[in-house]
């Protein structure tokens, strides 16, 4: 009876309806185009240039993997690449550790919490150039702490890490930590505040000491925050350039050189654009070392999540 009511509507949606359905995609399209051009386009361009004969100016003539061989034959680059991993690891772990300590301290219901928080967070607002410059002043034996101690009469005082090729990288790490640990602190503190109070009460009833409760109960529950901070900090670590330039200029020797400096130098100072591009590609590869496991992990995580709910 009702089965074949004449219907003005066809099974096709009207044009206006279809356009309305496409609005999100259409609004997103320009951004996608830009992001695609920026991320994919620029990356492909760089990869291509790294395989080309480019020197002073980009030149698309194909050459092959020669520039990669040359790059990996240079000591400076191997040191820089190694530094990226050492610095990245220490910087991230150090900032997280310092941030955790600060967050736990502030979490003790201290007075003037906002003041403490601001003090620890403000370095994030300071540019890397300024950060590096000031810490160079502080670390350098002739102008900084060592000089001040000498002037105070303690002539045996020695604080010359920045001029010691074995320790200079740690100066970069410390400076980086100064810049970033407040950021870690802020996020971890917020995480601590979101932890269910019953959890702590339960642990207290179980007779656990406060440090133990933090270590075993509270901090493990906020691990997603640690992941998020790690990703943001890694991004800083991989792109580190200005900090090192201002702090040590990559020295002593090449001890604190990082890949971004090599890329810039090769591409611009030395007119070896192809080799510089090869170095940039290697940075992308380093990035993949970090991001691919992370992506796989989160995909696995969301599948697990999906399985649980579905």
């Amino acid at each position: 009876m009702q089965a074949h009511t004449p219907n003005s509507q066809t099974s096709q949606a009207s044009l206006g309806q279809r356009l309305a359905n496409l609005t999100p995609q259409m609004v997103l399209a320009p951004t996608i185009f830009l992001a695609f051009a920026y991320v994919v386009g620029f990356s492909i361009w760089t990869i291509w240039i790294s395989l080309s004969t480019s020197t002073l100016l980009p030149d698309p003539t194909y050459q092959g993997f020669e520039e990669y061989a040359k790059l990996w034959g240079s000591k400076r680059w191997t040191v820089a690449y190694q530094n990226l991993f050492v610095f990245g690891a220490l910087y991230v772990v150090g900032s997280l550790a310092a941030g955790t300590v600060l967050a736990v301290l502030i979490d003790q219901r201290v007075k003037f919490e906002a003041v403490w928080r601001t003090i620890y967070l403000y370095p994030l607002a300071i540019s890397f150039i300024v950060t590096g410059t000031v810490w160079r002043w502080i670390f350098h034996p002739n102008t900084g702490v060592e000089r001040a101690l000498h002037d105070m009469g303690w002539l045996a005082a020695k604080f010359d890490w920045i001029t010691d090729r074995d320790l200079a990288l740690y100066v970069v790490v410390i400076t980086g930590m100064w810049h970033a640990s407040g950021f870690a602190m802020a996020l971890i503190l917020a995480g601590l505040r979101s932890v269910d109070g019953d959890l702590v009460k339960a642990a207290q009833i179980d007779g656990a000491s406060m440090p133990r409760i933090y270590r075993k109960v509270v901090l493990p529950t906020i691990w997603p925050i640690f992941i998020a901070v790690t990703v943001v900090l890694l991004q800083f670590a991989i792109k580190t350039y200005d900090l090192v330039v201002a702090l040590t200029q990559g020295g002593p020797g090449v001890a604190t050189t990082v890949p971004a400096i090599v890329v810039y130098d090769l591409m611009f100072q030395r007119g070896q654009i192809a080799q510089g591009a090869a170095a940039a590609v290697m940075i992308l590869v380093a990035l993949a070392f970090v991001l691919v496991p992370y992506a796989l992990w989160s995909a696995w995580q969301s599948r697990k999540e999906g399985a649980r709910h579905g």
């Binding site: 991320v39 990356s43 991989i238 971004a260 654009i273």
Partner: protein
């Protein structure tokens, strides 16, 4: 259960009611103070050196208190108005405007685009949306040095070389990665039911954005604005390479201090200039720090 609603404001910074105490408050405050000293020291050192005559700095290094007799605010004035940078002796004041003209539009644009993208990618699912999101996010990690030449080419084609508009464009595109990441992760926590309800109520794409999403966005807007503003303000490489002369942002002027220029270094004036250049982001952090952290935990940590 009935009273916990998804849209209740969660304030991670409100002091929780739980009792956590490390035995001695003394230890806590002691440790906090030691850390605070380390964090404050660099700023203090720059600040004090702005007051010291050059001879004083050269004689005793950077870590020393200003001498009461010789300390002066003169260098602030010089840094602002008469110090020679890049061959023009007008101090940093003339670069301030450029930095503002670059930072403010780029911050606003990238934030607005990020809000839209985040809204679409979290609330209007379609094929490959995850892939697109991943792609946009990858932009966060692109080393700047690598993008210089392609950008130069693009800016040249667009006729934006050597213009502040060009810098705004570059910073906006680069910023989209961050703002989209932040906003999308934040909007994911807004219940989909709200969007469904609005669609049934007859609201379309734009009306939902304007009436439902935007009013819920202030926490994440604060995050992206702070993040973008400080990031763009403090960036120097693009400023140096893509603009020239009187169009350069303030960081490009400041950056000379780290390089090996020739001639005498006016550390005191440079220190004053550095502080001036750092003031806007510092102010933004101090004023918005609380909201920054709050928004960040709601947005980035997902």
């Amino acid at each position: 259960m009935a009273d916990t609603s998804t849209h209740e404001q969660f304030d991670p910074l409100a002091t929780g009611g739980m009792r956590r105490r490390i035995t001695s408050k003394g230890i806590v405050y002691g440790a906090l103070s030691v850390f605070a000293l380390i964090y404050i020291a660099p700023l203090l050192i720059i600040l004090l050196n702005t007051l010291r005559p050059l001879e004083d700095i050269v004689r005793t290094g950077f870590i020393a208190l200003p001498d009461a007799e010789t300390m002066t605010l003169r260098y602030w004035g010089e840094a602002w108005g008469s110090f020679c940078i890049g061959g023009t002796c007008e101090g940093v004041s003339r670069f301030y405007k450029n930095s503002l003209l670059m930072t403010i539009p780029a911050t606003i644009l990238s934030t607005m685009i990020g809000l839209l993208n985040g809204y679409i990618l979290s609330k209007w699912r379609f094929r490959y949306d995850g892939l697109i999101f991943g792609l946009i996010t990858l932009g966060v990690f692109m080393p700047q040095q690598m993008t210089l030449l392609p950008w130069a080419f693009v800016l040249g084609k667009l006729g934006l070389s050597n213009t502040i508009a060009g810098l705004v464009f570059v910073h906006t595109v680069q910023g989209i990665s961050f703002t989209t990441l932040f906003c999308r992760n934040y909007f994911v926590s807004i219940p989909d039911d709200l969007i469904k309800a609005a669609r049934i109520d007859g609201a379309g794409f734009w009306r939902i954005f304007r009436r439902i999403i935007l009013p819920l966005s202030p926490p994440i807007v604060i995050v992206t604005v702070i993040w973008q503003f400080t990031g763009i303000w403090n960036e120097f490489l693009f400023g140096t390479v893509f603009t020239s002369g009187g169009n350069q942002p303030i960081t490009s002027a400041i950056v000379a201090f780290s390089g090996s220029g020739t001639g005498e270094r006016h550390y005191n004036i440079e220190a004053a200039a550095v502080i001036m250049a750092a003031l806007p982001p510092l102010f933004i952090y101090i004023a918005g720090g609380k909201y920054f952290v709050r928004g960040l935990t709601q947005g980035a940590v997902k």
